[in-house]
């Protein structure tokens, strides 16, 4: 395996593992609000304190609210209160609003987290949003939605694409005509409007989980056209190979020919398509949630985190709100590296 492919796959696996292990890696619950720290900027990890002493254990300074009109922003570091980073902390999460328990007794859960600070301090390595929710935690939990929506949608559309493409290429005649005209219709439709139209059919308020599967279904079912055409092309050339005819003359059935001799030839194309489609579908989910049609608050997704940027004052003042957009960059780069490496391996 090429170095590049190894590197890209390792990177992707790490990102997906981090996202899957959000309960452990994230310092807070994604919906936990810290109303005293709305739009807190990212905290820096320090090793050297104000007196010039070196600490082996990194620490952050506690934030204090200064004033809304200060040039450096409303918060500033309290140099007298260093909060050392603690690893493998047992943390109690209060779901919902931590400030008031007006809506009844808040639910509490205990579990292990990778890091945290001693209470009453807080740690916001990627800053917070307007409800004082930790951006890092929301990024990790949001990745579960955004990355896996893309992954599942790609699996769905590739599965459909392989099925329809191989039927079309292998049997030809009218199934071919019907499927390919269908594919052309799907390719001619501007998909984003199609998605809007489908979304418009469905109830306005759907739960986070339902909307996740809805997105996967809609994106996956509209995206089969291109992979099916590619698969059809490969099947069309593979079915005329001499060894396919030879296998037929030894009594092989159509299904056997497809499975054993023809579909293996499409793997290269399918893998390349997968590596290209997944980031495309991740972006589709992000776009959707950005426009408020995907996963809705308070459940995080990279799209609805970016939706905050629709407000001009957020866009102007709080640069850390771009975090969800920035994490897309390495994800895309790694997926495209995989696609590139797979394609090179085929040549």
């Amino acid at each position: 395996m090429q170095k590049k492919l190894k590197f890209a796959l390792l990177g992707l696996v790490l990102i997906h593992l981090a996202v899957l292990g959000a309960r452990f890696f994230a310092p807070y619950d994604p919906a936990e609000q810290h109303r005293d720290f709305a739009f807190a900027p990212p905290m820096l990890l320090h090793w050297v304190d104000a007196q010039g002493h070196l600490h082996l254990r990194p620490f952050v300074y506690a934030l204090v609210y200064h004033s809304e009109s200060s040039a450096a922003g409303p918060y500033e570091d309290d140099r007298s209160r260093a909060l050392p980073l603690r690893f493998f902390v047992e943390s109690t999460t209060t779901h919902g609003n931590s400030q008031s328990a007006a809506s009844g007794e808040p639910q509490r859960t205990n579990h292990l987290r990778l890091f945290g600070v001693d209470s009453p301090g807080e740690i916001f390595l990627f800053g917070t949003d307007d409800y004082g929710r930790d951006q890092l935690s929301r990024l990790l939990y949001g990745g579960q939605v955004s990355l896996f929506a893309g992954l599942f949608a790609a699996v769905l559309s590739l599965g459909l694409g392989i099925l329809l493409g191989s039927v079309s290429g292998f049997y030809g005649s009218w199934p071919d005509a019907v499927i390919m005209r269908g594919a052309e219709i799907f390719m001619a439709l501007p998909w984003i409007y199609l998605l809007f139209a489908v979304r418009a059919f469905l109830p306005l308020h759907v739960g986070a989980q339902e909307s996740f599967f809805l997105l996967v279904g809609v994106i996956g079912l509209t995206g089969w056209a291109r992979p099916s055409r590619l698969v059809r092309g490969v099947v069309l050339s593979a079915k005329h190979r001499e060894y396919v005819l030879a296998a037929r003359s030894f009594g092989a059935s159509n299904f056997y020919l497809l499975r054993r001799h023809i579909l293996p030839e499409t793997y290269g194309v399918v893998l390349t398509q997968a590596a290209l489609l997944i980031p495309q579908y991740v972006l589709a989910e992000v776009t959707f949630s950005f426009l408020g049609l995907g996963v809705s608050e308070p459940a995080p997704s990279w799209g609805n985190m970016l939706a905050e940027l629709q407000k001009l004052y957020v866009l102007e003042s709080y640069w850390w709100m771009f975090a969800a957009g920035l994490v897309l960059v390495p994800v895309f780069l790694l997926y495209h590296m995989v696609a590139d490496a797979v394609q090179q391996a085929q040549l």
């Binding site: 037929r248 003359s249 030894f250 001799h261």
Partner: protein, 324 residues
């Protein structure tokens, strides 16, 4: 002698678009007994391969059998459904393709490719089938090669690949093997090896063999009977020694004259002769005898009337006006 295969008035056509279908094989009738070798010779494009493919219902898209029957052990194969044909192919009748290099899947091990033929027809596990495949490979001349079944086709020579293809064909113990130009892509020494192998296998398993070729020389050591095809028609058939030594049809004569050292003791010294012209376009056959424009013994009547079969001797059939 019991008849294994009876072909009667077979007509194979290709249809392209809305044009009237082209007859690539017409009026083909012949018999084959168990354990007998039939050689089919003729130039490229005279319908040999189409005839062979039609026997097993393997014609490519657009090709179909318009009329006639192919009786194998009493069953008409033309009327069988695809699923039933699949049980016949490989198990009862199998096929050795022209170029073994192309007929083997380049990404699968040769042992597995033989095993798969067995799995397709018998209820055995992959493990058993692999063992069987090894045995078959040893039987057909790979005895010294321990790991041959683990090899990929590109690791084998042309002759070895052809052996593997033959192993696939005989794996299920068929009664009939159709070999379509099995030695055309091989060099002369390997040709002899492969023909010798086929002959050994034929005697060992009592196989009936249809050997298609355009070099009559390869038929000399193996064929019992020979059938000559021209422009989709069988122009001459008879016992091999008779046809080779005393060809009746002018086409057969020309074909044999243009061969190299067919029967060394009798071949005259001097330049090789050839048949002028080229095979006709099957879609636009000339009136009368299809061979007439190239025939050295052409008569007036040849250009107006199609010749019919005439029998001479016990099993000699020739389709030429000269002998009517």
């Amino acid at each position: 002698m019991d008849r294994l295969l009876e072909v009667r008035d077979l007509r194979v056509c290709y249809r392209k678009g809305t044009e009237p279908p082209t007859h690539v094989v017409d009026n083909a009738s012949f018999d084959l007994a168990a354990g007998e070798t039939l050689g089919i010779i003729g130039e490229s494009g005279c319908g040999k391969t189409s005839l062979a493919l039609a026997l097993l219902g393997l014609l490519p898209r657009g090709g179909f059998v318009q009329c006639g029957e192919v009786r194998f052990k009493g069953t008409n194969l033309i009327e069988l459904h695809e699923a039933d044909l699949q049980r016949v192919r490989g198990a009862e009748i199998s096929f050795v393709h022209q170029d073994a290099g192309l007929a083997l899947n380049p990404v699968l091990r040769v042992g597995d490719q033989i095993a798969e033929v067995l799995i397709a027809h018998r209820r055995i596990s992959f493990r058993q089938a692999s063992g069987e495949a090894r045995k078959i490979l040893a039987q057909i001349g790979f005895a010294g090669h321990e790991q041959i079944d683990r090899a990929f086709p590109h690791q084998l020579s042309g002759g070895q690949k052809q052996r593997v293809a033959i192993a696939q064909a005989i794996a299920c113990g068929p009664a009939l093997v159709i070999a379509d130009e099995p030695v055309t892509a091989l060099d002369a020494l390997v040709q002899v090896e492969i023909i010798t192998l086929l002959k050994t296998l034929q005697q060992h398993f009592h196989l009936a063999l249809i050997l298609i070729t355009h070099t009559p020389a390869v038929l000399v050591p193996i064929a019992h009977r020979i059938m000559v095809m021209y422009a989709g028609r069988i122009v001459e058939q008879g016992l091999a020694p008779e046809v080779l030594q005393a060809p009746l049809h002018p086409y057969t004569q020309g074909l044999l004259d243009s061969g190299l050292d067919l029967l060394p003791q009798e071949s005259p010294a001097g330049p090789l002769s050839s048949i002028p012209g080229e095979p006709p376009n099957l879609a636009a056959l000339p009136a009368g005898c299809a061979f007439a424009p190239r025939c050295s013994d052409r008569m007036e009547v040849c250009q107006t009337r199609e010749p019919v079969e005439s029998h001479s001797g016990k099993s000699r059939i020739v389709r030429c006006i000269k002998y009517e």
